[in-house]
């Protein structure tokens, strides 16, 4: 289990996480893999897990009738996918699909929520880490919305 903690601590999302918290989290973690095209989760699914991507690429998608799946962004090695486990009603808002072989750590949301309720320090640390991810994704989405490379008539 000690080496599992070490591997977990090497993931960018858990960079500098105090060892005591790592020890608490290990009980909620499992090693998972997905083949190309497999869904990590689908819109409306119970959001009972989130994933730390260790290898491969995941597409975050929305399905639109007549258009099919639209990729909103991709998540790569070292990143995290899924934060709906943090907030009621704990259901996934988008699809997450493996674009090739994906290896990841799956963290059990219900298990983590229970531990965070008991340990406010852990809860604050995890929430802060997710808030940073949410902020970065929001910034990125805003930039995408600006359509920076579109024809804005200059030149």
């Amino acid at each position: 289990m000690e080496s599992f903690e070490r591997i977990l601590s090497e993931h960018a999302f858990f960079h500098d996480l105090p060892a005591v918290h790592l020890g608490t989290l290990v009980g909620c973690v499992s090693n998972v893999k997905f083949g190309a095209g497999e869904f990590l989760f689908r819109e409306g699914d119970a959001a009972d897990q989130f994933y730390l991507i260790r290898h491969g690429r995941v597409a975050v998608e929305a399905f639109a009738p007549g258009r099919g799946s639209i990729t909103i962004e991709t998540i790569d090695e070292g990143e995290v996918v899924g934060w709906s486990w943090l907030f009621p009603p704990y259901t996934a808002h988008f699809d997450a699909r493996a674009l090739g072989l994906v290896r990841a750590f799956a963290l059990d949301g219900a298990c983590l929520r229970a531990k965070c309720e008991k340990d406010a320090e852990l809860g604050f640390d995890l929430t802060r880490r997710f808030a940073r991810v949410v902020m970065q994704r929001l910034d990125a989405t805003r930039l995408q919305l600006l359509d920076l490379y579109g024809d804005h008539g200059n030149g």
Binding site: A12, R57, A59, G68, S69, I70, T71, I72, E73, T74, D76, E77, G78, L99, G100, Q136, D139, A140, L143, Q144, L146, D147, L148, Y149, G150, D151, G153, N154, G155
Partner: protein, 288 residues
């Protein structure tokens, strides 16, 4: 008025900068729906224009007008002047109508260059957004030609969609090299796209370079530059190691007319390539 220091690399200006030289279109290539490349040869053999990576020319579409266009070709092959142009105004649309054998007026080359020699011994991070790849391609040509002079070389490119990517064939070649780390992303994907989706700034955090020794060359829309610089700073890069290429409304190209004034500098003469810390007081200012 305080003067803005110049970028590190300042090539010589053409002998008579106001007089266009005649060039003949040798080849036209369609890059994307609105972007094309013109390959030009001098009308007379002695008319070769040597240039440094990052410089631009004023291209004259006869009967229409003149527009500043970055040079996108290989600085080691100056016998063919290559420009990649987005058709967004009357002049650039006029240039798009040209065919093989047609004549163009060329003034230049003008402006400062990417500090490719100053980067010897350093990691190099090249970040391009959209048409911003055009003025960076000469720097990439130079770096790859002198590959042994550099540490790790990372090239990050963001485009609107897969169909809006410039130099698609060349991108594939670059991606197949073992001495160049290439990451490409699009803001909007199609169903066939299996690559990264998201803004180019997202690639910076995971790119393999040493922020303590790297030099970054950044070109794209100004908002993209701002966010890219912020991402490079978060990685630990310092402002003097970041170079950006600015775009303004350049007319005379020699610092007379003032159309491209940027704080105390003229982008045509003191830029377009600036060391980031030297643009800092004016970068993002709405009045500038």
């Amino acid at each position: 008025m305080a003067t803005m220091a110049t970028a590190e690399s300042r090539p010589a200006v053409a002998a008579d900068p106001m007089r266009p030289a005649l060039f003949v279109v040798r080849k036209t290539s369609r890059e994307t729906a609105d972007t094309f490349t013109l390959s030009l040869a001098p009308a007379v053999p002695e008319g070769i224009h040597r240039f440094a990576p990052g410089q631009f020319n004023m291209l004259y579409a006869f009967g229409v007008g003149e527009a500043p266009v970055s040079i996108s070709g290989d600085p080691a092959k100056p016998e063919m002047l290559v420009h990649t142009i987005r058709a967004v105004g009357s002049v650039t649309r006029g240039l798009r109508k040209l065919g093989k054998g047609d004549t163009v007026g060329v003034r230049g080359p003008f402006g400062t260059a990417w500090p490719v020699e100053q980067a010897h011994g350093h990691d190099v991070v090249i970040v391009a957004g959209g048409i911003g790849l055009a003025p960076l391609r000469p720097a990439l040509y130079h770096v790859l030609l002198h590959r042994g002079q550099y540490g790790r070389v990372v090239f990050l490119y963001g485009a609107r969609t897969p169909a809006d990517m410039l130099f698609a064939r060349q991108l594939r070649e670059w991606r197949s090299r073992f001495d160049l780390e290439v990451e490409v992303t699009v803001d909007r994907a199609t169903a066939e796209w299996q690559g990264t989706v998201g803004v180019v700034t997202k690639l910076i955090g995971r790119s393999p370079f040493d922020p303590g020794s790297a030099m970054a060359f950044v070109c794209g829309p100004e908002v993209m530059i701002r966010f890219t610089v912020a991402a490079l700073q978060r990685r630990g890069m310092t402002d003097p190691s970041i170079f950006v290429s600015m775009e303004r409304n350049m007319k005379c190209a020699v610092g007379f007319c003032g159309h491209c004034q940027f704080g105390p500098a003229f982008v045509c003469k003191d830029g377009p390539v600036f060391r980031y810390d030297r643009t800092l007081p004016f970068f993002g200012l709405r009045e500038v």
